[in-house]
């Protein structure tokens, strides 16, 4: 039915099967869109946020997708700037995942603000002191860069590529991609960092505040570093899931091992920095403001030291160690465990840096504020996931995303 669009030599499921799959996920998208409509129409009262809890579930999701979307800029940086050539076999997919993550983040922001039609005031009336201004500028620019990085891949679709103009455009864009990758890496470095800065500059919130370098608190650097470290884990995870779903091997082991190894070393260095930061914060910064760190982890029904241990040890140190050691890294099961833990770890970090901050009382006479999201928040948070699945399914089906796919699946019969 749609065989003319499918990459030459690629084996894809039947169209009806594909359509059913898309329809199921599409239903989830519709649910999310319905919730989104409600929020735009009726306002943020559709959420369970309140004046204590001004940032909630989807802001966490926003930060989390940007963090895991960090695989795109970091892989791009390695491929185009540091010329790690093997990564060309996964860069397309990394870009697509990045595109999904960043478009999702922008969508969440559009839902999150109380006055979506005034969202552009952030550019028009920009306050240069605000980390969020930095985020907004870099995020939008980087999204443009990702789109540019994505376009050649789209133009490589079998039909599009028949148009000579598109063919040449795609070819030439590949040629100059290093420039965009460099720009992207720079922008991404800043907005990942400014997202970290968002928390770190809140000097009214002792749980969030960090000292730092010039105008940037340490969280600025930690966020960038963690995105670079854990982003590739997410790229690898999604690749692994795609392989499982399609029942095909799509990327060669050497590529996977290489990216895992890089990710592992990034995680280890990050987690060392994170541990130093935590110790300094807990023993110098926080006591200087009159708090024991136990204040942040007690007297409430949810946040305990477990979250700190899970984030740093279980989902930081352990995956880092697994990925830097050859034997464990090349064991598929252990590697999978490591990348899953890594993704959880970075998401947990973003949770802590958004939601735990809001929950902790600062005034000595205030109390913990815990919150449970409304279904509208859940639906709009699930929306990007469903949208991402659809986009991956569609691009996988119609675009030559994995250069090694044909080679790795040569033995199988071609149904065309």
């Amino acid at each position: 039915m749609d065989s003319a669009l499918i990459p030459e030599g690629a084996n894809r499921c039947s169209f009806p099967k594909f359509a059913v799959g898309i329809a199921i996920v599409g239903a989830v998208v519709l649910w999310g869109v319905y919730a989104m409509g409600l929020i735009w129409w009726k306002g943020l009262n559709q959420t369970n946020m309140n004046d204590y809890y001004g940032f909630a579930l989807w802001i966490w999701a926003d930060l989390a997708v940007i963090a895991v979307g960090g695989g795109a800029f970091f892989t791009g940086l390695l491929k185009y700037i540091f010329k790690v050539d093997e990564l060309k076999n996964i860069i397309n997919f990394a870009v697509i995942i990045g595109f999904i993550c960043y478009s999702s983040a922008l969508l969440i922001l559009a839902i999150d603000i109380g006055q979506p039609l005034r969202g552009w005031f952030i550019f028009w009336h920009a306050n240069v002191h605000s980390m969020l201004t930095e985020v907004a500028f870099c995020l939008s620019c980087y999204f443009a860069v990702l789109t540019i990085e994505f376009i050649p891949n789209i133009l490589e679709n079998r039909q599009a590529n028949k148009v000579p103009f598109f063919h040449h455009l795609a070819h030439n864009m590949h040629g100059v991609m290093a420039v965009f990758a460099a720009t992207g890496a720079f922008l991404s470095f800043f907005h990942q960092g400014s997202l970290g800065g968002v928390a770190g500059v809140m000097y009214g919130r002792p749980f969030a505040v960090r000292e730092g370098l010039l105008i940037w608190p340490w969280t600025f650097f930690l966020f960038t570093w963690s995105a670079a470290a854990f982003g590739p884990c997410f790229t690898l995870l999604v690749t692994r899931i795609t392989e499982a779903v399609t029942g095909k091997k799509l990327v060669k082991d050497n590529v996977v091992h290489l990216l895992s190894k890089i990710s592992g070393w990034m995680i280890i260095t990050y987690i060392i920095a994170k541990i130093i930061d935590t110790i300094y914060w807990a023993t110098v910064t926080v006591p200087g403001l009159g708090f024991n760190i136990s204040h942040f982890y007690s007297n409430n029904g949810f946040y305990g030291y477990w979250i700190l241990v899970t984030e740093i040890l279980v989902c930081g140190v352990i995956p880092g160690l697994i990925l830097i050691m050859k034997s464990t890294r090349e064991n598929p099961t252990l590697r999978l465990i490591a990348i899953v833990l890594g993704v959880i770890g970075v998401c947990l970090n973003r949770w802590v840096m958004v939601l735990q901050i809001m929950a902790i009382p600062v005034l000595s006479f205030d109390t913990w504020a815990l919150y449970v999201p409304s279904w509208q928040e859940v639906a709009t948070t699930v929306l990007p996931v469903a949208y991402g699945i659809i986009l991956i399914a569609v691009t996988y089906r119609y675009l030559p995303v994995f250069p090694q796919e044909k080679e790795l699946n040569r033995t199988k019969p071609v149904t065309e």
Partner: protein
């Protein structure tokens, strides 16, 4: 030119590109944001010329001067009036919310007549003729005494006109709702003779011994009390607060002495005994005591030994002795009474016992003490014309002494003892104990006329509602009372044209009277209420209308007073709470929730703590020791002999174990979603307990049980 697929695509892409670089998008983006800044459903207040008008607030007995800011004809803000002799700037939250009452959409907007379960709108002419016709029937049947009337107070021209209507009609059955002023007059009557009242010189006292009087809970004239309390800090005066719960007053006091509820009278008498025993009393003052000083002394020495008082009250002997001594030795001590706001149930024994402390230390009519003097009268109505029916009816005995008793009588009789009832500025169906019984009595009275601005619980029970102006819309003399050391009459003025089809209560009475014949019509010969007030105020009117107030008395009264202690010498019993629960439910007065005639405004409800109201549930206060495993916001069922309610729990270390504290002023049931159907009305859970010897409803609480819901 052939339009093929490719050129179509190209054209389309070109159009999109062109559109995106044109200013159209930018313009639309800008317009949409401007639209969000001018949403037509967000009101834009109209600007105009700023003006200030002075008036007097009559939402509570405080009688504060207020200043109303207007934009052209529109009042937009109420604030306290500086240099007004009662409050001198500053106002309470209810006064400041006054405009929410004025524009309250649940006001009664036009006269209403009950038809079955529903009210239907009628004209003023019809309303007046219905009421006057019905009253005439009662009068013509020769039973004028079967007309009864309830208002909020005894003083002022509007109450005066109601009284006049009843008298010339031929009925002695004029009642007022219990108020601090009524208790002050009652206490004064018992000790100093009828027609007197008591004021407290809190501004100058150096030792205030308060038996549960909520000095900053809305007791007396609230703003004046707040000021006196604040100045106490500067003067170095001591406040010793005696009550079972850490109220705001207790928290603000220098010393809080938790006492077992209902034993305050014993404590006061115990302190009297200490003062007598240690010879700390003012001999000159005691020498003038009438009614058995020796008998009282003997009684106190025998029946009130410290050990026994300590056991009854739960206060250490040393503390009782210490406080009594400090009080007696202070230069300008004053003991104040009237638990909470002072308008709830009170026991005369307690009031008199506390005031006896004042008498013993000789601080009556001394600076910083208690001022005893005749109730100030500034109005002089022309002599009523009385015909035979009026004379005969008016000479009959009153049905009862107090208003709660009136309803008991109505309920107890199978014949209508009251044929018609006029209710003004009061809400007995909400604010008397055992509201179910009160409503039942209303059901048995054939004809109830409510003079009300709001569709409150009592208005809902009426047959006819005659909507009256709010205090912002009408001219009225507002006499102060409420335990102030000075007497002031203020003038409340209409600062805005009536918002709805309402009338001045005085004008309504004149219309009704004129529609009847005989002595009634002849006694109401004014054209309007304004004319009536001006003539009745006589000499006072000039200053009143010019300055907005007249000070009737100020400073230490230089008049003799007598002290008659025969009431106490008879050793009256103390009131006991009814029921057999293991807990005691007590009401909590709180400045942010009015509990009497006026329900809270939306603003005031907004300020109510989530330790008192959560969603639609009343939150009751109990000590963690009493809680037995209950946690904050657990739901429980509270049962008393009178009623049952579902409430939530708040654990507080500020309440004596064994007690359940519940806010007064919640649980309204009329149609106003901002104010009503929030929590329970405590008066549905507490029943009256009549004090022997005084006839007062003196229930200070009721035994209760709590079970997990």
């Amino acid at each position: 030119m052939k339009v093929d697929r490719r050129s179509f695509l190209g054209l389309g892409l070109g159009a999109v590109a062109g559109f995106s670089v044109s200013p159209v998008l930018l313009k639309l983006t800008d317009d949409s944001s401007i639209w969000t800044q001018n949403w037509p459903w967000t009101p834009v207040p109209v600007d105009g010329e700023v003006m200030y008008e002075s008036s007097v607030c009559s939402l509570c007995p405080g009688s504060c001067g207020i200043s109303i800011r207007k934009i052209d004809d529109r009042p937009v803000k109420i604030e306290g009036l500086t240099e007004y002799p009662i409050n001198d700037g500053g106002a309470c939250l209810h006064g400041i919310s006054g405009l929410q009452y004025l524009y309250d959409p649940s006001r009664v907007k036009t006269p209403l007549k009950k038809n079955g379960d529903k009210f239907e709108e009628i004209s003023w002419e019809e309303a007046v003729s219905l009421v006057s016709g019905k009253l005439a029937d009662i009068r013509n049947a020769g039973t004028p005494e079967k007309l009864a009337c309830i208002t909020d107070k005894n003083t002022g021209s509007v109450s005066g006109l109601f009284k006049r209507l009843l008298k010339t009609f031929g009925s002695p059955n004029f009642y007022i709702m219990p108020s601090l002023e009524s208790y002050l007059e009652l206490t004064a009557a018992s000790l100093h003779g009828k027609g007197t009242t008591i004021g407290f010189d809190l501004d100058n006292s150096d030792f205030i011994l308060s038996f549960g009087a909520g000095i900053i809970e809305g007791w007396g004239s609230p703003v004046a009390c707040f000021k006196a309390n604040a100045s106490r800090k500067e003067r170095g005066a001591t406040l010793c607060q005696i009550e079972p719960r850490l109220s705001n007053t207790a928290a603000n006091a220098d010393r809080w002495v938790p006492v077992k509820p209902g034993t305050e009278a014993d404590l006061a008498l115990g302190m009297c005994a200490v003062i007598l025993k240690n010879n700390l009393f003012n001999a000159a003052a005691a020498a003038g005591f009438k009614g058995g000083f020796n008998k009282l002394t003997a009684l106190l020495q025998n029946d009130y030994p410290l050990s026994k008082i300590s056991e009854i009250t739960g206060i250490k002997e040393a503390d009782i002795e210490d406080i009594a001594t400090q009080f007696a030795k202070a230069k300008m001590p004053v003991a104040v009474f009237g638990k909470g706001r002072g308008d709830g149930s009170q026991s005369l024994k307690e009031l008199v016992a506390v005031h006896t402390l004042n008498c013993l230390v000789g601080n009556i009519n001394k600076e910083g003490g208690a001022f005893v003097q005749p109730v100030k009268e500034y109005l002089e109505f022309p002599e009523e014309t009385m015909d035979d029916i009026a004379d005969k009816g008016f000479a009959q005995a009153k049905l009862s002494l107090y208003v709660h008793d009136l309803f008991d009588k109505v309920n107890a009789s199978s014949q209508p003892v009251v044929e018609a009832l006029l209710v003004y500025q009061s809400n007995p169906c909400y604010s008397l104990h055992d509201t179910k019984a009160v409503k039942q009595a209303f059901g048995k009275i054939p004809f109830v006329v409510s003079f009300s601005s709001f569709m409150d619980e009592t208005a809902k029970e009426a047959d006819i509602i005659l909507p009256v102006h709010t205090f912002i819309e009408r001219l009225e003399d507002i006499p102060s009372g409420a335990g102030l050391s000075k007497a002031v009459v203020g003038l409340s003025k209409p600062v805005v044209k009536p918002v709805f089809n309402t009338k001045h209560p005085g004008d309504i009475l004149i219309l009704i009277a004129k529609a009847m014949d005989g002595s009634v019509a002849q006694s109401f010969e004014w054209e309007t209420f304004d004319e009536c007030l001006e003539t009745a105020a006589g000499d006072t009117w000039g200053d009143l209308s010019e300055n907005g107030y007249v000070i009737l008395s100020e400073g230490v009264p230089k008049i003799p007073h007598e002290i008659d202690i025969s009431f106490l010498s008879k050793a009256p019993d103390s009131v006991q709470p009814t029921g057999d629960g293991d807990l005691l439910l007590i009401p909590i007065d709180n400045m942010r929730l009015p509990s009497a005639a006026q329900a809270a405004s939306p603003f005031a409800v907004k300020t109510v703590s989530d330790e008192e109201l959560k969603g639609k549930d009343t939150v009751v206060e109990i000590n963690p020791k009493t809680a037995k495993g209950l946690k904050n916001y657990d739901r429980v069922t509270l049962t008393t002999p009178v009623g049952t309610a579902k409430v939530m729990i708040h654990l507080s270390e500020g309440i004596m174990p064994g007690l359940v504290g519940m806010a007064k002023g919640l649980g309204h049931s009329f149609d106003n979603k901002y104010v009503s159907n929030k929590g329970v009305n405590i008066n549905e859970l507490i029943g009256p307990v009549i004090e022997s010897g005084s006839g007062l409803d003196a229930a200070f609480g009721i035994k209760a049980k709590i079970s997990k819901a």
